[in-house]
Amino acid sequence: MKKLLLLLSVLVMVMGFSLAVHASPEEDRLVFRKFYEKRFPNVATEDFINGAYSIDKAGRENWEAIEEFPPYEPFMERGREMWEKPFANGKGYKECFPDGPGVAHKYPHWDKKQQMVMTLPLAINQCREANGEKALKYKKGSINDILSYMAFESRGQITNVVVPKNDSSALDAYEQGKKFYYTRRGQLNFSCAHCHLQNAGMNLRAEMLGPALGHTTHWPTYRSKWGTVGTLHRRFTGCNKQVRAKPFKAQGEEYRNLEYFLTYMSNGLPLNGPGARK
């Protein structure tokens, strides 16, 4: 019976009716995870953090060769310098992040005071602005340096997003992100789920569509196509543009809520950033 229910809910999800069903985030997560475990029974769940390479043998060999000389290393090095160097006012990131640089697993989280989803890039810029420094851009540039360093220092920490029960706005933000994920958009009329759920493991031309489980564990990521390291919201932008939809603002409410939902789906998976992709 339990199995049947699970199967049903997986079906419901793939068919895109998930919005009509009011499941708790934890129920959503179990269905999400089971879906990929069922579709790819030979992949160890933890391996989904490697994206399409968890299911694409040929791509994986190429990727493993790239990881021998990680292309994101210079970014990490510059990020370490940023972390160590005080701002003009004498303070630095260390004061904003008293637990040290390895705190990526604490993001995104619900910020009760500001009543919004707080992400690591946003926290970095709030830190800078509070200390009289200019905010960094959210898709390209040196924000990726500091993020690469912090991601590396956070490796092995476990994704553990919480939707606090005592604040209904937190659940609203999660629901907004979920709705975003299943909504068709753009002239080509795709939802995120069409590519990464319904068609995960299939080829779009020569490109294998990766599973969404683990999509959030390895940011920022070096992409050969970009020739540099980029943020998660830059990737969201690209996936929106691909279907000829107008992308949303990096670190705007839509993408932050999307990140909140998507990262929750990967709860329990270890962080392995920065990543490298083709």
Partner: protein, 133 residues
Amino acid sequence: MRKKSLQLVSVTRVISVLLACMLLVTFSVSAGPAAKDQSKAVSKDVQDGKKVAFSRKKGNCLACHMMAGGEAPGNIAPPLIVMKSRFPDIKKLRAQIWDAVVRNPESSMPPFGRHRIISEKEIDQVTAYIWSL
């Protein structure tokens, strides 16, 4: 279950290919000059339709469908072969291309007509080409 119906499909495919070949032979023997003129007009649409179907900026059908002569196709969708047997009514084929969501609400095939991804004329051309496969 899916496998079984796939097998079934492939059996019907083989049969329809055979049938199509036989038909072709009969036609080419019996077609008169009038029929030839018509087939010229048709083949112009078929040619243009192929360009629209293969172009990444237009149909980009190869992103998802295997099609004869197309390189590096995707495998999200069924291969486009023996279309006359699958769509005896060409209007239904055009409707599938115009908006796949009508037949399957969860379709990942873009609604080429409804969202004006390509023009009505191009849809006619693509339809003619696909029907020739």
